[in-house]
Symmetry: D2
């Protein structure tokens, strides 16, 4: 677990159109870990002025995928099989960040936890937490 | 349950900036039910060309919120407490639609199921399914 | 999907000690479907007189496993990777039943939905619903 | 959050018939935290010799309820609204333990995380992790 699959992590963050459109950035990456951030704009909100749960879910899911991808073999890729997210408090502020850590790596399934924080930069609070199950796929596998 | 809270449903879909930015539209609404659709563009995809799980989750969550809101009292509003989504197959196509139905209404919590379909218009397939727990809030409640 | 793996379904229900201890019975089985029931006793309750969420979860998970197992190849077996259950209303009555249906079969992952009903026999109500992700395993797989 | 509702925690563990039947014991309790254990017997297993997911789910859910109950007012009680559990590896051993911690307390909803460990006493490993949403109820509330 010394070397991480940095190339795949960068591909996941830099070549995903929806992440670019949203404005999310890769902040840091390590073995089984990934952090990301998103500068919030009015377009990220829902009807009552809070950050839309879908924005939080997108950042949680995508950052989890990148955290899981740090541990895969070259040529493999990850695909979210399912995730669950708890919206813990209304999210308001100028910044949304996510910290994802692999809870259990596996050759077929990897489970990752993502914590999402929001607020002014100097006072970020945990606003949601997700558990993401990733399927580890190989191009050659007949599945 | 005869009259539905049409005003709140329309507010949820028309005044949520992230939904407008995404391009999702309200298609139909009934007691405890809501349907929506999204014409897919390249910006909605992830790094491997599939519709991003976050786009599917956003549509599933938001349409569930609208379905739940059909049954609330004037002055109340809904907020997602948590949701879980299973990504059943890779999503590809020109259209994403969502059909949400209340599984169990409640005065404090309402549980809604959302099915998300994707494909060419003539051959939409179920690509994901979510279960969403909504908190029913009143402006006066001290929470 | 013509022939179902009846042998594996019966093994799952008849040889699982916890299911025998609980008292749950296999009621019916078909391709991608399974139904079970449990005659409720005082020992199945929690501290306020309702059927314990763990009893409901056990029946939902186990019946989902059997439903998924109807579709697997001889020699394969299923293992729950994760599940989510919504407890929709307090469960009271003399009988608990479960109806599980495969939502999406797969060669590696199968997703099953389980509905749990409770009440007197003549008036069973939906008390909980679970979504279960099963891993499909083969003895030879190195995992 | 100084005083904890010890009476309610003890009632939850000592007067729940299914927990007594299972054999689970309260180990420790603190503000927003609870630990429990279960000496494993053959009757707790599923058909392949692993601890049944339902046993793990029961311990995770119940211990979460007790952790959440440490923070409620006298007269209030908790009821699981939903939970999700990831079965991370097959569970084998003589002991099952659970450590539950409140992630976010609330006046209406409290979210708790439960980690379940299994193995021989000297080498317990994390086998599953659950996220539990508890509804906080008062006898007087009309719901």
């Amino acid at each position: 677990m010394g070397e991480i699959n940095q190339a795949e992590v960068e591909r996941i963050f830099l070549s995903a159109p929806f992440i670019r459109d949203l404005g999310a950035k890769l902040v840091a990456v390590g073995p089984g870990e990934c952090r990301s951030s998103l500068t919030l704009e009015a377009r990220h909100l829902q009807q009552d002025g809070y950050v839309h749960a879908g924005v939080q879910a997108t950042l949680a899911d995508h950052t989890a995928g990148a955290a899981g991808a740090t541990l895969i073999e070259p040529g493999q890729f990850v695909l979210s099989a399912e995730f669950k997210i708890n919206l813990l408090r209304p999210a308001k502020g100028s910044l949304l960040t996510c910290s994802a850590k692999v809870l259990k790596p596996g050759s077929a399934l990897t489970v990752v936890e993502s914590e999402v924080f929001c607020g002014p930069i100097e006072d970020l609070r945990l606003v949601s937490k997700a558990t993401v199950t990733l399927a580890i796929l190989s191009p050659r596998a007949d599945r």
